[in-house]
Amino acid sequence: MCTTELSNADVVTRTDKPSADRTLTRAPDPAAAELRKTMGDALVAVGKHRDEQAFALVFDYYAGRIKSFLMGKAMNEDTAEELTQEIMLTVWRRAESYDPKKAAASTWLFTIARNRRIDYLRGNSRIEVELDDEILEVETTENDPQARYVADSQSAATLEAALAKLPQEQRQVMHLSYFRGQSHGAIAKWLNLPVGTVKSRIRLAMQSVRKELQGETDALDRDDFLDSD
């Protein structure tokens, strides 16, 4: 199985409070890079050729993980199984719109699973920016140092390494956010921490991630003024 160290260790229970900072460092994982390419190629093959074997590859790797993701937000197993099937059907149907230059397969699959989870739990769709909106702001993109990583095929690898380097307490908060679908306020209650502590962990984690993606040492300073409230 091809995973990073971000998996099981981050599933948190009440008794598993954050311990002292622990920083994991690791070499780039060639198997993970291979997997990213395989999944991206497979989605393209599904989109272009309705390739059922390629679909089976994506299904075998991601369906069980999407099911875990759904069960993370208090969804029972039967519901999660059914919803995973629906999500995989959506993947089959929408694969044509997948553009490997715009997003890693993992990002694309995550957004589909996340949006479907929101639909299901809330009964109405996630509100998103409409990219064909007449007033969509595009001009600053070229001048923005963060724009650099968006189309970068290395970004998933970089990001994976950046996340693995985060202190345990920051990774725990990231995991609770994404898998439990908890707001930072709810995480603070859950961990019995001040909201400010959780916010600062999220900010530090996101700043580290962006800094790695930008490959710029001054990225932290650059972002400070944005979030200075």
Binding site: T3, V11, S106, N124, I135, E137, Q146, L159
Partner: protein, 217 residues
């Protein structure tokens, strides 16, 4: 549009992980429409979700890829719903424009206090917490108050100034914690602001407290 006040990391992350109410998502999506910078930060947050998903522990599936394709073959082809053509409202991001039955100037504003009119967007199924447009008269001075709960404010038209700075069209005030504010609406034009608060019972945020004081909501 010259945007200078942005979303915080924690709000972008809550948006990425799906823990915001639809009302708050609407404000986030409005700002993302006019702010390429935050849109990129939002994409980075989605990428984090992707990496976490790819590295998650697998749950056992009872169905296979073949089963799912068989389900598909047995069904009528599904079509993704296409959103209705949006009402064209110059300068209004579509996530908000979709909620407005007519142009902002012709909305059925309700006067709630001297210099303050509101248009409520908080009907079901969107609503937990307040979700409304506020129409603030030029030169209006709001009294001191502080943020406790989460509240987002998106400036649709006009501007106001407080201790943090001047908030103009496209800016978002994503503030909580304890801030003392004394916002003043620009003297030359009314300010129209979209606000959403987190909780249905407490209005302790920026405009929320003001509203509470004036109208007892």
């Amino acid at each position: 549009m010259n945007v200078s006040h942005h979303l915080t990391d924690e709000t972008l992350q809550d948006y990425a992980c799906g823990s915001l109410a639809a009302s708050m998502e609407t404000l986030v999506a409005c700002h993302l429409t006019v702010c390429a910078h935050c849109r990129l930060r939002s994409e980075a947050a989605d990428q984090v979700g992707g990496v976490l998903l790819a590295s998650a522990e697998k749950s056992a599936m009872r169905t296979s890829a073949g089963d799912v394709l068989a389900i598909r073959a047995a069904r009528k082809p599904a079509v993704d719903p296409q959103p209705d053509a949006p009402t064209l409202q110059p300068g209004i991001p579509r996530p908000l424009a979709r909620l407005l039955p007519k142009p902002v100037s012709q909305l059925d504003w309700r006067r709630v206090a001297p210099g303050i009119k509101q248009y409520d967007l908080g009907s079901e199924p969107r609503g937990k917490g307040a979700f409304k447009l506020l129409h603030l008269a030029p030169g209006l001075v709001l009294s001191d108050h502080s943020h406790i709960d989460r509240e987002l404010t998106y400036v649709v038209q006009g501007c106001y100034t407080d201790e943090i700075g001047t908030f103009s069209t496209g800016d978002i005030a994503d503030l909580d914690g304890n801030h003392a504010h004394r916002p003043v609406v620009s003297a030359d034009a009314p300010c129209i602001a979209l606000i959403a608060t987190q909780s249905p019972v407490r209005y302790s945020g920026f405009f929320g407290r003001v509203m509470q004081r004036f109208v007892g909501i």
